[in-house]
Subunit: 333 residues, 2 copies
């Protein structure tokens, strides 16, 4: 390995920390592509992080999350904070990233050097959204953005894991969706630090707020010194309720620090980061040149029903590890 990529990466990180947006974009791209530059700078990127307030915003499709995040970014800028946004496109896992109408509304921030917006979309057939998202958040953290917002659709397992890298998780609901959405709310109830009912200018918003308060009250009051999860109403389109949301984010961060919960969250985030990367990396490895033919052979066997996919998967996991082990032994001897 030549020295050049390492020093190039270090230079990008320095320039990014000095506020150069192009360098930050290049760093994210380098990590996403797992280029030499990306791989060599990764340790420095993570070592430099830890200063940002990482906020996860999740909710069902159609809840107006992107518009709300745009309004939140505007409010935080008004308060003098710098804001980085990583938006994981719901459509990206298959289409490679469709242009979202809501995303366009974020563009009004692009001329403001205090706001950085990046959409993550899947690159190629074998995914990698989780890994790339986790790394992009780390780059924004390392380059000094004060608030880093990760926006994702909170339905799938991988998507929920992405949100779990956050210090503060905001779950966005909207009034008047059907049974299934209520169930998703139920699924997300236990990870929410703040509930937001967006489109709160609708007539049925108070019913949704009351339902959420009812579900929260089932868990009983918070312990002494605990965090009482608030339910806020917002109107993303005109910014209604967004100052209160920004206040609540600050209050949650203050509570995390004063209660000692921040330490526990940092550990939970580390678990979520490792898990999200493992999930993608193991599949990437199976398709790399060293293992691709074994994967293809396993697929042939499973297609012919001579082998069950569980045994095939187990052997493939053995192999990607075993080969690495052989390389390590070879390098040591």
């Amino acid at each position: 390995m030549s020295v050049a990529p390492a020093s190039h990466g270090a230079a990008l990180l320095d320039r990014g920390r000095a506020g150069e947006v192009a360098a930050i974009s290049q760093l994210i791209t380098a990590l996403e592509a797992r280029s030499d530059v990306g791989r060599l700078i990764l340790g420095d990127v993570y070592a430099a992080g830890g200063g940002a307030h990482v906020v996860g915003v999740t909710g069902a499709p159609g809840s107006g999350k992107s518009t709300l995040v745009g309004a939140l970014a505007k409010e935080l800028r008004r308060r003098g904070r710098t804001v980085g946004v990583i938006a994981v496109d719901p459509s990206s896992s298959l289409s490679g990233g469709a242009i979202l109408g809501d995303r366009i509304r974020m563009q009004e921030h692009t001329l403001d050097p205090g706001v950085f917006v990046r959409s993550m979309s899947s690159r190629g057939r074998f995914g990698g959204v989780s890994r790339a998202t986790v790394d992009a958040v780390a780059v924004l953290d390392a380059t000094g953005w004060e608030v880093v917002v990760v926006e994702t659709v909170g339905v799938g397992q991988a998507e929920v894991e992405i949100v779990q890298i956050a210090h503060t998780t905001v779950v966005v609901s909207v009034p008047g969706l059907g049974d299934e959405v209520q169930a998703i709310k139920a699924g997300l109830l236990e990870v929410a630090d703040l509930h937001v009912v967006n489109k709160a200018d609708r007539a049925d918003a108070s019913k949704t707020i009351a339902e959420l308060l009812g579900m929260l009250s089932l868990a009983g009051p918070p312990a002494a010194g605990g965090w009482a999860v608030p339910v806020l109403g917002t109107v993303g389109l005109d910014g209604g309720g967004v100052p209160e949301l920004a206040d609540a984010l600050d209050a949650h961060l203050a509570w995390l620090r004063s209660s000692g919960e921040l330490v526990r969250r940092e550990r939970a985030a580390a678990i979520a980061r490792i898990r999200a990367i493992v999930r993608d990396l193991v599949l990437e490895r199976m398709h790399d040149p060293a293992h691709g033919r074994h994967f293809e052979a396993a697929v042939d066997e499973v297609t012919a029903r001579r082998l069950d996919p569980h045994t095939a998967a187990s052997r493939l996991i053995d192999r990607v590890g075993a080969d690495a082990e052989s390389r390590v032994r070879g390098a040591r001897s």
Copy 2:
């Protein structure tokens, strides 16, 4: 390993193939729990499969998928077909399976021995939904259900992978949702063999149907002998349009067979099965007694920012494989 679990598994599979629903449920549970019975019967389960028409039904939350699947099951029963349904709860990744209002509507089928319904929910913190779903579909296939429907929310990467184990993929839309849902449609456009606009009795349904037809027409007409993706309107609640949906499923299966596409799909399904299982299994292994302490140590290092999560993930993958390799070498020597 004693012989008893293997013969118990074989007996369950025989009883399941004879139509005993309790035996089928026990098989699914055994596979989900990775009990000895489950692990030993897995090869036989996959070897016995291949007869079912596996239909994936996906779409955004609130599209009325469950109601539609219920109506489809009723229609297929009217045609003398047996139907197995595996429903992946959108809320299950965190709540451990909330009770869905829509699910209750499926219960009218439970007294019909020609319909089998199973909801999959996450068991414990470390997921396992993908693996369990893939295995449950295999059990229904192996025990002779003619049509096996897998119903899931098509948003996350893992969820989409579950749908890819299907021969025929039905994407359900509804009229009048927002921009983000349109984007999801775009993301799912390329995997749909059939588009269904549910709640087609709404005034704005024809607009949604026209939009879908417009998006499909951008891809140009199908090649000679190719499949022209239809857009159907249904009303899940009263069964409107559902006979046409059942006809379209039959037509698609006939086309798969006559065109030779079925062979390609079986291979694509094998890939999706292996990938879904790998994704879950590698994380399960990291938390097993042999590797748990290494995982915890890695989490400590990442939390302290002495190690980046990418390097940690890579080493953990090496280790779960390397240990297996050591065991294999030990057994061989």
